[in-house]
């Protein structure tokens, strides 16, 4: 499946709701609303990065987005999230104090939660998404 920019945004939003929220709920028991906040931040960062991914994709001959690029995009998004979190913590911006409140546990909860959401979303896109929406792959990832 070769996504278009609209397809990226729609698929990302769909996955945040369908996969992100259910996967985050158990983490909320430990960390309150922090996981949902992280999810929201990830969505925003990812939506911005999608514009960059789309440009990269268009520079490739096939205009494709292979699996290894999807994995690298995950690493980039996580790094961007951490960078943003440090900034929030340093400047006491929203989400920063809540993360600081978690103390050392944040070092476990944040990556485990984030990568759980990413991994399940990644696997979902590789298979179940196609079973649910047969037209999705023919429309560059657009659902609407």
């Amino acid at each position: 499946m070769t996504p278009t920019l609209a397809g990226r945004w729609q698929t990302r939003a769909f996955l945040l709701v369908l996969v992100g929220i259910p996967v985050s709920l158990p983490f909320c028991l430990i960390a309150g609303l922090v996981p949902l906040g992280l999810l929201l931040c990830t969505g925003a960062i990812g939506a911005l990065l999608d514009v960059y991914y789309d440009r990269v994709q268009r520079s490739r001959w096939d205009h494709d987005w292979p699996v290894h690029r999807q994995i690298r995009a995950g690493v980039l998004e996580f790094a961007a999230l951490l960078f943003g979190l440090f900034g929030c913590c340093a400047c006491s911006l929203p989400l920063g104090p809540a993360v600081l409140k978690l103390g050392p546990m944040a070092a476990i909860v944040v990556p485990v939660h984030w990568w759980s959401v990413w991994l399940i979303s990644f696997l979902f896109v590789q298979g179940p998404m196609r079973a649910l929406f047969p037209r999705w792959r023919f429309r560059g990832g657009r659902l609407l």
Partner: protein, 634 residues
């Protein structure tokens, strides 16, 4: 129906002898020690000739049910057989046949034939134009055929909701989706000449050196047996390895799927894996209950907002019949009408009837490799697409077996730089240009597909020219063969057009010209790997449709379809006619003749039909997919 009739045929021996013969059909033709004989009984070593509604047909020796139309010379041993008349010869002709009739060119409008290059290597097509004044019935002369006329025509009238014309992979993919959409088998009819939908495709694969264990140029999720593309062929193959304890192989494949195309070679499925999966799916959807074996003669609108196809059918006992198939929704998927030859090679074959030394890669040309394996020799290869790569691979294998095989690759021009589109550029090595598939991947459903669909007609032609062209897959083994061949000297590349081709002491003498500089080559064989004919004029059914309804053509001279693959000019009230496959190349969608492209077309057609066949989505789709997983009928 098959009739006892007589035909005049012309026979030309390799040594130049020519004879004409009146044959009473059906009959067998057999060659023993170079001598030709006609026999009344069908035996294991005879080519069986029959008459089907005025069309001369041949079945190969052995118990092979395949039958092809004879409109080009048919090789039988050292003889070439050609029909002299498209109509039957009557008894008077037999009695007064006397001197041979002058050779008439093969009636191109008489039938659609890919190639008839010898028994066992027959290619056939489901398409043929009317050649018998009795069928289709006279009412087909009108653009809109009254149903009342059809009912009194005396031919069986078969009605269904969905009619797939072609019976090949294009038909199968659409019918498969219709079944997934919940359409029952009794509402669907598929008409084709082959018993399995991939028969013709498989034959082309075999001839172009893709044996069952070799890999196709198609990606993992292009699954004609599975509209969801999940699990793809790559995942299935990996799981199969793991299931059988071959963990490393399985993990290796998963790694390949993850790394392709930048860090690993692009995964492509094995031919037999694809064919086997289609067999399973065909059984699941009840394909055999929907298939009518037959040859399509003509398609017309009816006066009640439907369409009627005149079909010469073939009964299980070998006899033929005629039928009229009526439906409001028709999909035309007739495939490639023939093999393509460069003009110079076509002229050579027509002049000399040399079907032995000058061959097309899509014909059965195993004799070339057998001869090379025994005596070695020089092969001139034309074309530099994926088929040329496969032929070169085969020649390298023959050479490795121990004979002195040399390959001269005659390319029309140099290729020092790959095609460009925007900032991207294709890679070139040794004048071969690479891309994983025949179009950039985003043409199948990404931004390039959208761009092409939205583009104006003129712009489309530019985009297609930039994205397409002759390329081959970037396979390491192929690159190594070329590099090793060049280094060792058994493979060489020459440039230029062929200006002269002559027989010189039993060998072929070629003169090539590059910008005024000529060079001479001596060769034992020429393999033309330049592809298949994709012009609709090579297909009499399509040519007839275009003429009868003044169908518009796209800038590449093929059927002009809407983004939903509809032949808008054929709309008939609520009736809709669609065309898919190579006959639509040059329109709003680029990869029309690929597995995934056919699935894309099927989805677009069903989406545009809305009511009669709704593509499932969400949980309904998941349920349909789960039925596929369990092998349960839709």
């Amino acid at each position: 129906m098959t009739t006892a009739t007589s035909r005049v045929v012309r026979l030309r021996h390799r040594d130049g002898r020519v004879r004409s013969q009146v044959v009473r059909l059906p009959c067998g033709v057999r060659v023993h020690d170079g001598a030709l004989s006609f026999v009344r009984d069908r035996e294991a070593d005879t080519v069986w000739l029959t008459d089907n509604d005025g069309t001369l047909e041949a079945s190969p020796p052995r118990e092979d049910p395949r039958t092809v139309t004879v409109s080009e010379p048919l090789r039988i041993g050292e003889w070439l057989l050609s029909p002299l008349e498209s109509a039957r010869a009557d008894e008077a002709t037999i009695r007064s046949s006397g001197p041979p009739a002058p050779r008439s060119p093969a009636p191109r409008t008489d039938a659609t034939v890919l190639s008839l290059d010898g028994p066992g290597g027959l290619l056939s097509s489901a398409n043929a134009a009317p050649s018998n004044p009795g069928f289709p019935p006279p009412c087909f002369a009108a653009a809109v055929v009254p149903m009342a006329d059809l009912r009194v025509s005396g031919h069986p009238l078969v009605e269904s909701t969905f009619l797939a014309l072609g019976g090949g992979l294009g038909s199968f993919v659409w019918v498969d989706l219709l079944r997934v959409c919940g359409v029952p088998t009794d509402e669907i009819t598929s008409i084709g000449f082959e018993s399995v939908p991939y028969a013709r495709y498989r034959r082309l694969c075999q001839h172009s050196q893709i044996p069952p264990h070799e890999r196709l140029r198609s990606n993992s999720e292009s699954c004609p047996d599975n509209i969801w593309g999940f699990p793809g062929y790559g995942l299935r193959e990996a799981l199969d390895h793991i299931k059988h304890g071959r963990f490393l192989a399985g993990l290796g494949l998963l790694g390949q799927l993850t790394g392709e195309p930048d860090r690993a070679e692009t995964y492509t499925p094995r031919a037999d894996q694809v064919f086997d999966s289609i067999d399973v799916e065909a059984s699941r959807i009840g394909w055999s209950r929907m298939v009518v074996p037959g040859r399509i003669r003509s398609l017309r609108k009816t006066d009640d907002g439907r369409y009627v196809a005149a079909v010469s059918t073939r009964n299980p006992d070998g006899t033929s019949g005629r039928a009229l198939h009526v439906a409001p929704f028709v999909q035309v998927a007739l495939g490639y009408p023939g093999v393509q030859f460069l003009d110079d090679l076509r002229a050579w074959r027509e002049q000399t009837a040399d079907f032995e030394r000058v061959v097309n890669a899509y014909e059965d040309h195993e004799h070339v490799y057998r001869s090379l394996a025994e005596d070695g020799g020089v092969v001139v290869l034309r074309g530099r697409g994926i088929v040329a790569s496969r032929i070169l691979q085969k020649l390298a294998e023959v050479r490795r077996a121990g004979t002195d095989v040399r390959v001269v690759h005659l390319m029309r021009g140099r290729k020092d730089e790959g095609g460009r589109a925007g900032k991207a550029q294709r890679r070139v090595q040794n004048h071969w240009e690479f891309q994983p598939f025949n179009w950039p991947e985003a043409c199948w459903g990404g931004d390039l597909a959208t761009e092409l669909e939205k583009a104006e007609r003129g712009r489309r032609a530019e985009l297609l020219a930039a994205w397409g062209g002759t390329t081959t897959a970037d396979r390491e083994d192929w690159r190594e063969i070329v590099a090793a061949g060049l280094a060792e000297g058994w493979y060489s590349i020459r440039f230029g057009g062929l200006t002269s081709l002559q027989d010189e002491g039993g060998r072929l003498r070629l003169v090539a010209d590059e910008n005024g500089a000529t060079s001479t080559l001596a060769a034992d064989f020429i393999v033309d790997a330049t592809g298949l004919i994709s012009s609709i004029h090579g297909n009499p059914v399509l040519a007839d449709l275009v003429q009868r309804y003044s169908l518009p053509l796209n800038p590449q001279g093929r059927l002009d379809v809407t983004p939903d693959f509809e032949l808008e000019a054929l709309r008939n009230g609520n009736g809709r006619a669609f065309a898919v496959g190579v006959s639509t190349l040059g329109g709003p969608y680029a990869p029309v003749d690929s597995f995934l492209g056919l699935q894309y077309a099927a989805v677009r057609i069903c989406e545009s039909l809305r009511g009669p066949a709704r593509v499932p989505s969400g949980l309904a789709s998941a349920r349909a997919w789960w039925r596929w997983v369990r092998g349960v009928a839709p």
